[in-house]
């Protein structure tokens, strides 16, 4: 069996900060029939060896200071911002944009220095007016752009809002398009939705389209934790402008991506990631159809190549890997070769997509159909879990079925909808959710 296992070829230099790894849901596939397999292409990153080696960040904080933020929410947000500020180094660039009915740049992009002026500006924020969210992001982007050419810096916008955008463009589609454009410039927007009043579609789409993280914070007291997690990512960027190209040989045809979005071009799939964080695994899942192959043979199933800019050396770098699988008629061998982790990742992303569909159905006032959608997904993975003895799958199926029951009985409430959206986006983005964020401090 070891002979059948793939060897991971590393094309990049030994000290490359990003490694590519290809896993398949089963290393041995059934011979002589058309097979369907899940190819998981992982981008593994190592943490920077020394913290002082970390790339500098160009962080813009776009803070909602509309009337609804007044009181505890704003106080926590300010506290969190101050805590975040204290973790930045003197050389990092920081800007602060506060938006209500209009947009005001309280701190234009500048080196953090001793941070006192920035601290004063953060403390001076008070709540008033409406929510010009689009303008706030635009202005924050404009501040980030001032140092965009300096490639030492990792650009990032942190958007905090607790309300519905009601000044300026406010359709999720508008913000999604803006996210796409910002992504092209290498700017990621991390969105933090606070409380139950914000528009989760808008916030998650903006984050997804710009390859940023997204968080749903029901209690503003959690904000400092979120900031710590987010800053942990931003301060830990090891690679930027990552383009992953997966090529499939003849006889293996990509059917589509599960979870993370990408473009399927004939025999290849291309994905773009804005930033990779140290110590985190990001991956793409591709469903492939494998043409009938003779028993006993081995076959290359995929080849992956990643091109990125090293955040520390600011130099372009690449890495590559290939994967081969074996074919057999022994069904037990096929089952034994199952990669339970790949299956679980696939299942989680499939459930995330299923949840998105369920939200759409619930929005269309078909809670029964939404529940049925979730239940079907749960059943599928319960079957799969039983077949492969995958406990994680069974757990997930159980949890999804519970979600389905809840949707069936209570419909999709505001908080549940926000949780669905945020979890779905976090899963697809392989974002370390904030509940585990504290551990990275």
């Amino acid at each position: 069996m070891p002979a059948l296992l793939s060897s991971v070829a590393r094309a990049g230099q030994a000290e490359s900060s990003v490694q590519v790894r290809i896993d398949v849901d089963r290393d041995v596939l059934a011979a002589d029939v058309e097979e369907h397999a899940i190819v998981k292409v992982c981008l593994d990153t190592s943490r920077p060896s020394r913290p002082e080696n970390r790339p500098l960040v160009n962080l813009a904080l776009a803070l909602d200071r509309s009337g609804s933020m007044s009181g505890e929410k704003l106080a926590h947000a300010k506290e969190a911002a101050l805590a975040a500020l204290s973790r930045l180094s003197e050389e990092d660039v920081f800007s602060l944009v506060a938006y209500d009915t209009t947009v005001e740049t309280l701190v234009p992009a500048r080196r953090v220095g001793d941070g006192r002026a920035i601290e004063r500006a953060i403390r001076s924020i008070d709540a008033r007016g409406n929510t010009a969210l689009f303008g706030g992001v635009s202005q924050a982007a404009s501040e980030v752009r001032k140092n965009l050419e300096d490639r030492r810096y990792t650009p990032r916008i942190l958007l905090i809002s607790d309300g519905l955008a009601n000044v300026g463009p406010s359709a999720p589609e508008d913000l999604a398009r803006l996210g796409v454009a910002l992504m092209k410039e290498g700017i990621s927007v991390t969105t933090i939705g606070l409380g139950l009043g914000y528009n989760e579609d808008l916030m998650t789409r903006l984050a997804q389209c710009s390859d940023g993280n997204t968080y749903f914070v029901e209690s503003s007291a959690d904000l400092p934790r979120i900031f710590a997690a987010e800053l942990g990512d931003a301060l830990n960027v090891v690679a930027r402008r990552v383009v992953l190209r997966i090529t499939f040989p003849d006889g293996v045809s990509p059917k589509g991506l599960v979870g993370r979005e990408g473009v399927v071009k004939g025999q290849s799939v291309e994905l773009t990631l804005n930033q990779l964080y140290g110590g985190q695994e990001k991956f793409a899942l591709v469903e492939v159809a494998v043409a009938p192959t003779a028993r006993g043979s081995t076959k290359k199933i995929a080849e992956a190549r990643v091109a990125y800019e090293d955040a520390i050396s600011q130099k372009p770098a690449t890495a590559a890997a290939t994967k081969t699988v074996a074919f057999t008629t022994d069904t037990d061998a096929v089952v034994r070769s199952a990669n339970l982790k790949v299956q679980a990742d696939y299942a989680r992303n499939a459930v995330a997509q299923s949840k998105d569909r369920a939200v759409s159905l619930a929005d269309a006032r078909q809670p029964a159909a939404a529940a049925a959608e979730l239940r079907a997904t749960a059943d599928e993975f319960a079957r799969m879990g039983a077949q492969y003895q995958n406990r994680e799958l069974l757990e997930l199926a159980k949890k999804t079925r519970a979600d389905a029951e809840r949707v069936q009985n209570e419909g999709l409430g505001n908080a549940a909808r926000k949780t669905f959206r945020a979890e779905s986006a976090q899963t697809k983005n392989q974002q370390s959710s904030y509940s585990s964020g504290g551990s990275r401090d």
């Binding site: 209009t102 947009v103 635009s138 803006l178 796409v180 454009a181 910002l182 091109a307």
Partner: protein, 630 residues
């Protein structure tokens, strides 16, 4: 007082004249002040209006400037994209189009089409949702009516060396309008950013995707450097003469969303290259055209063709109101887009000048009223003093007259007795008695005059002692009986058998009773009857009634008869002498003793004067000088 008195009339005319003398200047000053106030108000209103006009003009200029800046930004992006798109040769094109779509933030989709409108790229099979969506939206539309075959919507065939001419205009506009430095730097920053975009130019050699970032390093600080570098390849790529480029921008609605597309046909023939603008990204950058600083009360907003506010600055009214300034964008691809300016009502507007007038007029009014009423008060006081002086004069005359009668009698009889011309002893006794009676009368008069003066000065002092009021009344009536009998007045007594003990001033009570009896003798002599009754009322006070069958007192005089010097101005009383003091003194004494004296008409005709005395008098006025009584 019926007598005609020219002096009094003359003096009241004089007083009226003085009053006019006061009134006219006060009113004149007030009037002039109001007129001046009005003029000041109008001047203020005028100034406010012109200030408002200036604000409005400034806002209009600012709105226009922002609109120009927005157009410049849009123009920069549009021209930059199409310029860059027109450069590469056919062979380089697919590479450029693909990389642009992937990396140029202002580009949503790139496309290539035949002049006929047939879409070459993206095709129905091109991978990617964006490309497929574009194909679905526009393939049919392009074939049915290729936008480039229509009347040219916007020809931007700007000679290369004039590409940045608008910048010059902007500089002039900036000077002309004295725009705030911060605003200028903001828009310049936005334009610089926008221009830096198209330098993700067709550098065909780097095929690695990390090259996206590499090409960014071409960033140049100044536009002077930017212009040639962006266009240098053009000169090399197209050395042979070719026709003018055709290019244009248009917008189209699809499923409720606006799409803005630009196309260029290099050389004016052949295939058409184009881009769909990433509208959200452009809109995000247009925020840079909004001024950073605005005057207080000003608001500016950029609105799209649906009237949706895209960016705003300053204070925008919440309720929908008509904007004070409105400048539509001239770019046909952005038809319906406009920059609007709002103006809050000025703090020092017409209203406050009205308020100034009201307050001013109020002050003038108060001032005038104060002068006139103060003057009138003084004049009234003068008239009153004059009337009092008049009364006193007539009082002196009356009193003198009163004194004269008893004195004449006394003198006459005493002379007769002195000369011994009265032989009869009975006569002598009668004369002496008359002299005595007249002396008593004189004494009463003098007492009255003294009391009056003491009461006037507030120096009347009461000697309180316990006495039986019934006995005291009997004593007084007994003393006065002869005199009353002489005046043919029969006195009927209605007095209680048991004593009524009161603590009071014996002399004051006697004075009151005498005055009442005198009053009855003087004015009700024809009635021939006086009834004196004494009783106690439920509260325990003693009530003494002196009733006559005289003509009574007319209703209008019933209270005034107790005023000093007042006399009922009837023929009846006019022929009687008197100082008009008796009742006034009697009431003042009664009140001084804690009681009262009032008039009641007597049933069946005549008058009743009712004296109420409390059981224990509390002397109200106590003399400052204890020995003043004498």
């Amino acid at each position: 007082m019926k007598t005609y008195c020219p002096g009094v009339f003359g003096s009241s005319r004089r007083i009226f004249f003085y009053w006019l003398l006061l009134l006219i200047p006060a009113l004149a000053i007030g009037g002039v002040a109001v007129v001046l106030l009005k003029r000041e108000r109008d001047r203020l209103a005028l100034r406010a209006a012109s200030a408002e006009q200036a604000r409005r003009a400034a806002l209009e200029a600012r709105t226009r400037l922002v609109a120009e800046n927005v157009e410049l930004l849009i123009g920069d992006v549009e021209d930059g994209l199409l310029d860059a798109l027109a450069q590469p040769a056919e062979t380089d094109l697919p590479n450029l189009l693909e990389r642009w779509q992937a990396s140029q933030p202002m580009v949503r989709v790139t496309f290539l089409a035949r002049a006929s409108g047939e879409l070459l790229r993206p095709s129905a099979t091109t991978p990617g949702d964006e490309a497929r969506g574009f194909y679905r939206r526009f393939s049919a539309q392009f074939v049915s009516s290729p936008p480039w075959s229509l009347t040219k919507k916007k020809e931007t065939d700007v000679p290369l060396n004039q590409a940045f001419a608008p910048q010059k205009d902007f500089a002039q506009a900036e000077e002309a309008r004295n725009q705030v430095q911060a605003n200028t730097s903001k828009i310049q920053m936005a334009r610089k950013e926008a221009r830096s975009l198209y330098k993700v130019a067709p550098s065909s050699s780097d095929s690695s995707s990390a090259g996206q970032t590499a090409s960014r390093s071409e960033y140049a600080d100044t536009r002077q450097a930017a212009a040639p570098s962006a266009r240098a390849p053009a000169a090399a790529a197209a050395p042979k003469p070719r026709g003018e480029d055709r290019r244009g921008w248009f917008s189209t609605m699809n499923a409720g969303r606006t799409h803005v597309l630009g196309w260029v046909q290099p050389g004016g023939r052949g295939d058409v290259r184009g881009v769909e603008l990433e509208l959200s990204a452009l809109v995000a950058r247009l925020g840079g055209a909004m001024p950073a600083d605005l005057d207080a009360g000003e608001g500016l907003a950029l609105r799209d063709d649906h009237g949706l506010v895209l960016h705003q600055a300053g204070s925008i009214p919440r309720a929908p109101v008509d904007p004070a300034a409105r400048v539509p964008l001239s770019d046909p691809a952005f038809a319906g887009w406009e920059v609007v300016g709002y103006l809050e009502p000025a703090a020092y507007g017409r209203d406050s000048s009205g308020g100034f007038f009201v307050v001013g007029a109020l002050l003038v009014g108060i001032f005038t009223v104060a002068i006139v009423s103060g003057g009138s008060l003084l004049l009234w006081q003068a008239r009153r003093s004059e009337a009092e002086a008049q009364q006193k004069t007539s009082f002196v005359a009356n009193v003198s007259h009163e004194f004269k009668t008893p004195l004449t009698s006394i003198r006459l009889y005493s002379e007769l007795l002195e000369q011994g011309r009265v032989a009869s002893e009975a006569k002598q006794i009668e004369y002496l008695r008359t002299i005595g009676r007249e002396t008593q009368r004189l004494a009463r008069l003098v007492n009255n005059a003294l009391d009056f003066s003491r009461l006037e000065q507030g120096r009347k002092k009461y000697q309180l002692e316990s006495l039986d009021l019934g006995g005291e009344v009997i004593r007084i009536l007994n003393t006065q009986e002869p005199r009353l009998a002489e005046a043919h007045m029969a006195v009927k007594r209605d007095l209680p058998s048991e004593p009524i003990a009161v603590s009071t001033d014996r002399d004051a009570v006697e004075q009151i009773v005498l005055n009442l009896l005198d009053n009855a003798c003087k004015y009700a002599a024809a009635g021939e009857e006086i009834v004196v009754s004494l009783a106690t009322d439920p509260s325990g006070a003693a009530v003494l009634r002196v009733s006559d069958r005289g003509p009574g007192v007319p209703a209008t005089h019933r209270d005034r008869i107790f005023e000093k010097f007042h006399r009922v101005d009837e023929t009846l009383t006019a022929e009687k002498t008197g100082a008009g003091l008796g009742l006034s003194i009697a009431r003042q004494l009664a009140r001084g003793l804690g009681g009262n004296l009032h008039y009641e008409p007597r049933p069946g005709g005549g008058s009743t004067f009712v004296l109420t005395l409390p059981r224990s008098s509390v002397a109200r006025r106590v003399s400052g000088a204890p020995g003043a009584e004498g």
